[in-house]
């Protein structure tokens, strides 16, 4: 039975229909595919693609380019982005310094927190002007990605 799924990339959503024989129709174009080995997909005319699955994301390597393509499960929406005003660590990191305190007025581009990861300093900067509402980290903390460090209003 052919299946239809929705893929999302940087441009938007795409409908893909997958036949039982490996034929795929994407945005109306038919493309023959064949599973060629673990993680390896033969794609018509373009040679070998490599694919790995991480949750809802398909990582695809094709001729030196790498894409992260989201598969939208039926009836589910993409995870909500962090609420406006909260600044998060981009990766697991150690807090080197917190440059602001609650109540401080900050301008867009000001450095609020300095993180260190992989031996490099990573400044976390204000995305807009605002007032620091809460500071949820201190120097020495190991912080995880996605966790709010500072909340601005």
């Amino acid at each position: 039975m052919p299946r239809t799924i929705t893929l999302r990339d940087s441009r938007g959503e795409h409908r893909a229909t997958i036949d039982d024989d490996g034929g795929v129709t994407v945005d109306g174009a038919e493309i023959a595919t064949r599973i060629a080995g673990p993680g390896e997909v033969r794609v018509a005319e373009m040679g070998r693609a490599f694919v790995a699955v991480a949750g809802d994301v398909r990582w695809v390597f094709l001729n030196g380019d790498v894409f992260e393509i989201e598969v939208l499960p039926d009836g589910r929406r993409r995870r909500a982005a962090a609420a406006d005003g909260s600044l998060t660590a981009p990766m697991p990191a150690t807090v080197v310094r917190v440059e602001v305190s609650p109540g401080d007025a900050v301008r867009r581009g000001d450095t609020l927190v300095i993180l260190e990861a992989m031996k490099m300093e990573l400044p976390v900067r204000a995305a807009s002007d605002g007032i620091v509402k809460t500071v949820n980290c201190q120097a020495g903390d190991l912080v995880q990605p996605g966790v709010a460090l500072i909340h601005l209003e």
Binding site: S10, A16, V26, P38, V51
Partner: protein
């Protein structure tokens, strides 16, 4: 005579050293932190010793832990690799005091050349040209700012104990100096435990060209030609090649001679590198001593390829008291080699290092292709260490052929699960200016728009993604042995 070497490092360089030991009938002992228990470098050695928890300060940078590991396994020598303790004079001294041969230069040489300020003085005495600049007596932030003003903006502020761009800032005016000097000092203190800074005139759009040198304990010093390392990001090298397309034969000869003079002045033993900045072009180009790296370089494979030598074998032979395996007259530079450093980083997000699972990792192979890597498919890239995944080094008869070989290899190097700089490397090698040999150290910055823009997936890429849906195992999942080797598995709790 060296029988057993402790390899005080991790990742690709620890594996490369363990291999050289095995080929020389020397046993190797790996060290590992808790994060590296199952790392490939642990398996590459004959034995392995746990040295501490994941943070490097408590493991790979802990002198007592490493000396203890060497003693408890009855090693007679220690190879430090690059990074970590490789340029730490106290570590070299601790090895000597523990009766261990340090595979590298003597501690006092590391100390002298490790102080950029002392090294500059020594080079001036030896007649090697240096970049105009100064060291402030007054090491306060105000003192450094005043020195910067006297050298004349734009300047580069550097950590005296520095390397790898840590503790280094380009400062273009007085105002930015107020924030950039303290930032440089913090980074220098954190990375080297020494916040001493000095100031140099900024040479605009220079090339970074270095010369491999090698000395032994019998007073012999040779150079093994040049390496062009101008393609950098965050002051760290990304692509290196030999020979440099920017040197005329006359300038190449003069640079080799200056590098040997520098190594002799430093009383250098083992493999080392004299880094130069090259300003201008043709026979009238000027070169200035930048710093000496008193260790094996990350990019040593390009020299091995064009000179037909094995630098780690030579290090082991010289450490055992032997003479250099080659004379200057025997060394020739043949063909062209290019190294690409494959990093776990996101070039379009400010080169932010990436950590996470390597869901799929397949290395290219073929004539003239060498891969030095420290990771495997199914492994994890840790937040604790350097984001270098692998080095791709190619050799071919000409620069043109080497570029084509490197491009072909990169297009057959799938790495999935974490973002890498692979597409950037491909765009760099295909760029007309790089193909024409027109390189400088700000190349990536100046061409960011064309080099770093993300491309949208083709319909073929979308089709490949569509068939990989894991809830259809009968079509999407071919049989594989063991779940650990299965790149199709869904990683729980991970994603973006």
């Amino acid at each position: 005579m060296i029988r057993r070497v402790l390899v005080a490092n991790r990742g690709e360089i620890a594996i490369r050293i363990a291999r050289a030991c095995r080929e020389s009938d020397i046993e190797s002992v790996a060290v590992y932190s808790d994060a590296d228990q199952d790392a490939p470098h642990v398996r590459a050695a004959d034995r392995a010793v746990r040295i501490g928890p994941a943070p490097s300060a408590q493991s790979y940078l802990s002198i007592p832990a490493i000396i203890d590991a060497a003693r408890s396994t009855a090693c007679d020598a220690v190879h430090p690799g690059y990074g970590f303790l490789s340029e730490n004079a106290a570590f070299a001294r601790a090895c000597e005091q523990a009766g261990l041969v340090f595979v590298g230069p003597p501690a006092d040489v590391i100390e002298r050349m490790g102080s950029k300020i002392a090294a500059r003085q020594l080079m001036i005495q030896a007649g090697v040209p240096v970049v105009p600049g100064m060291t402030a007596q007054d090491q306060s932030d105000d003192g450094i700012r005043e020195a910067a003003g006297r050298v004349g903006f734009p300047v580069v502020v550097k950590a005296s104990a520095g390397g790898g761009g840590k503790g280094m800032r380009v400062i273009r005016d007085e105002e930015s100096a107020r924030t950039l000097i303290p930032a440089a000092r913090r980074e220098a203190l954190a990375a080297f435990g020494d916040g001493t800074l000095y100031v140099e005139r900024l040479i605009d759009r220079p090339r970074h060209v270095e010369v491999q040198v090698f000395g032994d304990t019998h007073g012999n010093v040779v150079h093994l030609f040049d390496r062009e390392c101008s393609i950098q990001r965050r002051h760290q090298k990304v692509i290196e090649e030999s020979p440099s397309p920017g040197l005329t034969p006359a300038v190449r000869a003069a640079m080799g001679k200056a590098a040997v003079a520098a190594a002799i002045a430093a009383k250098y033993v083992s493999a080392g590198t004299i880094e130069f900045l090259l300003e201008g072009s043709g026979d009238s180009a000027h070169f200035y001593f930048l710093e000496m790296n008193t260790r094996l370089q990350v990019e040593h494979p390009v020299t091995e390829a064009v000179a037909g030598v094995d630098l780690v074998h030579a290090q082991l032979a010289v450490a055992a008291g032997g003479p250099l395996p080659w004379t200057q007259a025997e060394l020739i530079q043949r063909g062209h080699a290019i190294e690409c450093r494959v990093y776990a980083e996101d070039p379009s997000e400010g080169f932010l290092p990436q950590a996470g699972p390597l869901l799929l990792y397949r290395e290219p192979a073929g004539p003239g292709i060498r891969i030095d890597s420290g990771v495997v498919e199914g492994g994890t890239v840790s937040v604790h260490y350097d984001p270098l995944l692998a080095k791709l080094t190619v050799w071919a008869e000409s620069r043109h052929a080497a570029l084509a070989r490197a491009l072909t290899a990169l297009r057959a190097f799938p790495i999935l699960g974490i973002r890498t700089n692979l597409s950037l490397l491909i765009r760099l090698l295909g760029h007309p200016d790089i193909r024409a040999g027109r390189l400088h150290t700000r190349f990536i910055e100046e061409h960011a728009q064309e080099l770093l823009t993300r491309v949208d997936p083709s319909l073929e890429a979308l089709a490949a993604a569509a068939v990989a849906v894991p809830d259809q195992p009968s079509t999407a999942r071919p049989p594989v042995e063991g779940a650990a080797a299965d790149p199709w598995r869904t990683i729980q709790g991970w994603g973006r």
